[in-house]
C-alpha cells in the first residue's frame, strides 16, 4: 500500500498553484539487480487532477519520471477553500487518492 501524497494548493490571483509529491519507486525497467537481472519497470502510469470533483487534467507518465514524483500545475479560477483531488494508478494496478484544500 502506497504512502499518502503531499498536496499543497495555494490560491493567488485568479488561479491556484498545486504542488504534489507522490511516494513511488518509479522503477525504470533499465536497472539490474545484484544478480544482473533486470528489475521490471514499476511506475505511475496515470494521474488525474480534480477541482471540486471535476476533472481538470489527466496525465500519462512513463518510467522516466523521477522517483517520488513531483508535479506542479495551476488551476484557473480555484479559490481558497476549494477542494483539489489527485489520483494516481501505477502499471501494477496499485493506486492512491488524496485531497487537499486550497489555502
Amino acid at each position: 500500500m502506497a504512502d499518502p501524497m503531499r498536496i499543497r494548493a495555494q490560491a493567488s490571483g485568479d488561479k491556484a498553484t498545486v504542488r504534489v509529491l507522490m511516494s513511488h519507486e518509479m522503477e525504470s525497467g533499465q536497472r539490474k539487480d545484484a544478480n544482473g537481472k533486470i528489475v521490471p519497470a514499476w511506475f505511475i502510469q496515470e494521474v488525474t487532477a480534480l477541482h471540486n470533483e471535476k476533472t481538470v487534467m489527466t496525465a500519462e507518465w512513463g518510467p522516466a519520471v523521477a522517483k517520488n514524483p513531483f508535479l506542479q500545475f495551476a488551476i484557473k479560477g480555484a479559490k481558497a477553500g476549494d477542494k483539489v483531488t489527485i489520483l494516481w494508478k501505477d502499471n501494477k494496478g496499485d493506486s492512491r487518492k488524496d485531497e487537499a484544500t486550497v489555502s
Binding site: E46, V56, T58, G62, A64, A66, K67, G77, K97
Partner: protein
C-alpha cells in the same frame, strides 16, 4: 510487522479507492498510450500520439537546468502562450524511451506543468504543445548531466 490498527486503516483506504474508481469513471477510461512511451525518438513518439509535423515555436517554453548535478532527478517544465492546447509533452531525446510525460489539458488549467525526469546522459530535452487543431509545436534545450560525488 503491521499492527491491527494499521491493517484496519489500510483496508479503509483500499475501500475508498475502490469507491473512487466508480466515482471518477474517466480515471478508469484513460488509456495508456504504450506506443508513445515505447518510442525511441521525438518523431516516433509524436507519430504515436497523432500529429505528423513538428515545428519549433517561440510560443512554447521548456524549462530545465543547463547542468544537472544528478541525472536521477532533473526538473523539467513545459508551458505555452498558445490557446487551445490539448496536450503538453515533456521528452528527453537520448533516454531509452523518449517520452517522459504527457499532460491532457483542459480549459480549467493554465498551460504550464512541471515535473522531474530521469536522464541517463546529457541530452536535448523537449516541450511539445499539441493544439486542438492537431499542430505540434516545440521548444528544446540541452541539459548536461554530470557525474557527481566520488564516482564510486
Amino acid at each position: 510487522m503491521q499492527t491491527r490498527r494499521e491493517t484496519l486503516k489500510h483496508s479503509a483506504v483500499v475501500a475508498g479507492l475502490l469507491a473512487s474508481t466508480g466515482l471518477f469513471p474517466q480515471f478508469a477510461h484513460a488509456a495508456f498510450n504504450k506506443n508513445a512511451f515505447d518510442a525511441k525518438s521525438v518523431q516516433d513518439a509524436l507519430k504515436a500520439i497523432g500529429p505528423a509535423t513538428l515545428t519549433e515555436s517561440k510560443d512554447v517554453t521548456i524549462t530545465g537546468p543547463d547542468i544537472a548535478e544528478n541525472g536521477a532527478v532533473v526538473p523539467l517544465g513545459a508551458s505555452t502562450t498558445l490557446a487551445n492546447v490539448k496536450q503538453l509533452l515533456i521528452l528527453v531525446e537520448k533516454n531509452p524511451s523518449t517520452l517522459v510525460a504527457m499532460f491532457n489539458m483542459s480549459d480549467s488549467i493554465e498551460p504550464t506543468v512541471s515535473t522531474r525526469a530521469k536522464m541517463g546522459q546529457s541530452s536535448d530535452v523537449y516541450a511539445v504543445a499539441i493544439t486542438a487543431d492537431g499542430k505540434a509545436l516545440f521548444a528544446k534545450k540541452e541539459v548536461k548531466v554530470t557525474l557527481g560525488g566520488c564516482g564510486g
